[in-house]
Symmetry: C2
Amino acid sequence: MLKRMTFKGNLKEIETKLHGRKTEISAEVNKSVLDIITNVANGGDKALLEYCAKFDGFKPESATDLIVTKQEIMDAVTRIGPDFIRILERTKEQLITYHKNQVEKSWTIYKEDGVILGSKVTPIDTVALYVPGGTATYPSTVMMNAIPAKLAGVKHLYIITPVKADGKVSDVILAAAYVAGIETIYKAGGAQGVAAAAYGTKTIKKADKIVGPGNIFVATAKKLCYGVVDIDMIAGPSEILIVADESANPKYVAADLMSQAEHDRLASAILITTSEKLIDEVDQELERQIVSLPRAEIIRESIKNYGGAVLADDLKHAFEVSNDLAPEHLEVLTANPIEALPLITNAGSIFLGEYSPEPLGDYMSGTNHVLPTGGTAKFYSALGVYDFIKHSAYSYYPKDVLATFKDDVMTFAHKEGLDAHANSLKVRFEED
Amino acid sequence: MLKRMTFKGNLKEIETKLHGRKTEISAEVNKSVLDIITNVANGGDKALLEYCAKFDGFKPESATDLIVTKQEIMDAVTRIGPDFIRILERTKEQLITYHKNQVEKSWTIYKEDGVILGSKVTPIDTVALYVPGGTATYPSTVMMNAIPAKLAGVKHLYIITPVKADGKVSDVILAAAYVAGIETIYKAGGAQGVAAAAYGTKTIKKADKIVGPGNIFVATAKKLCYGVVDIDMIAGPSEILIVADESANPKYVAADLMSQAEHDRLASAILITTSEKLIDEVDQELERQIVSLPRAEIIRESIKNYGGAVLADDLKHAFEVSNDLAPEHLEVLTANPIEALPLITNAGSIFLGEYSPEPLGDYMSGTNHVLPTGGTAKFYSALGVYDFIKHSAYSYYPKDVLATFKDDVMTFAHKEGLDAHANSLKVRFEED
């Protein structure tokens, strides 16, 4: 079932194929999204309400009806029930355990000559979290975005999400928001919801950053609003890459390949191994296990198109291939998985050993599941607290120290043809 | 000379005007840059050499002639002379003093139950630094980009820069590269240079990230290659905002406003003060000092269009206005400048006190001069070591701990309709 790929011959081809899996935005989608943004930017709540009626079939009397009430949240929590609330709470605790290590502090250097240099860490003030409605409603994603933003100290964190025709938002989203500590939720989804967050309306506070996944209209709206607001990465199709040696259990390898392959037909699942025998055994396990999986058809297609097995010379070789592919999820199923860490340079999230399966990381390992895809792990990180802060540099120089820099700075400025820069130093020492 | 702006009435207007100063890319530029990128991506060195001949008038025999030789670098260093090399060395030391504090370490948590969680910090492997030729040749910018990249541990850091018709690169660029420790410099500028770095050719190694300023063709090429490679921020026109009380010296205020206003006609220089008297005195100083400045005409125009003075009720008020504008450079010329730090939330770089002028920060304060513009300091930081690394999360769970999560993860996965995710947990405990 897994295609065999040889390392030497096909890596470039695999890489091109994997990294090329981008959803193209049609000119038509682009145009209609741009119209929506322009109308909401200019028309505010009124335009937003019109789109709400048009696309969601929900016709509230006024824009305040777009705000989810405390009662609605509490009713959803009750309906969801204590067991799932407990699971969400546990997820939250796990995420805090991991992400609190990412919290950065402002720092200052006090030099002996009186110079003070530093960096002030400030949270982004207002962040909008887009949460899709419909079939792909993932409460886990609410938690993955909300917890780092909360730990960063974001003052205003709110959710924008599509509303159903009856004016309701999915219980599971409200429950996740409740556990994550998000109190403000707007019934405003699609491109119009993104536009409202980007430009602000009377009801919806203008955001500085918009995060969270969404369909093609949401992703296009985020791209088009980028600059007016910051946005997070646009996630591509999911990927898993497993590096395994002969010690790996083929049952687990097969299960984990399928756990990502089930996401959608563009998902990728690749095995790189030093054991040809393992490839054969994994193939058998894939066939054995797939029959019980509801999404078997999707799994078969994504493995057929974007799956495969690479036979590597040795583990060093295997990780070289993996580093070139820069996978979103990397499982290390070898005899000594922790020893692999020095060899890994490009990967969104690394799962070490046979009892750290990727799906644990999707929910409860504590690490984030919002990860770079399509080879962008070569330059991007998992979503983290660092995505919700910024650094402002600061400097304080006493006069006598500035005096020692005066001539050099003026020479430098003149060299660059910037005489008013030099003048700023000159005027400070004219009396001397 | 400074327009008076009232806080209550016009802030939104000022903000819109300042944050709207974006250079529009014409469809024509976009099309011609896209052609260049496509041709270089497909044609490699051959296409690059053709563009080199067409745009720069330089016709080397082969692509290896695009590589600056060690001899060329040493000759440039000799011509530049020891005094300016010393200034560059001093700049480098100052930058290291500041930026070494930004170096991040990998971290690991060892939990008592045997769980290991961590984050591996890895430098981006290959970074191309674009350095403009021609009139806007800033050796300072070479240093500002190179030092954080070097401190991050970037393995392959190279420069791409336009070549003159005689096949030479500006001495000052080569000297700055020498001091910064960059050994590889390619004579490949413009959109074609960017394309070569983004896609790689036989001669030029494919970069993972491209940084550095450039003209409209370079900026457009970077935007169009984004995704294939990472890019840095596209810098907008320069800005200075000065918050001053009655203790400020109008001579310094005027000089510093002009130091940014001289950059170009779109530059912005704004004074926010609690002292009406200061505004009048600054006006007089502007007129007195401007007569000696070669770029007086540019200064007059940028101050006329994007300059102004805001009279604030008190300092708290002044910093509220400043935070809304989120300036690239913020000077604090008040009696107790360090006390202002808690009030400042949005600013690229903060200059505290009357002997820490902004031009010092352009060259030698140690802080970076590559800064967010156009209000993007609300969500972006100064360029730093963090721009050249990425974090890979990792997790290791022992079997008995995974067992305690099994049921919750499976419940969560089923709730999200992802049965193959649940299966990954299930198969691991089938024997039990």
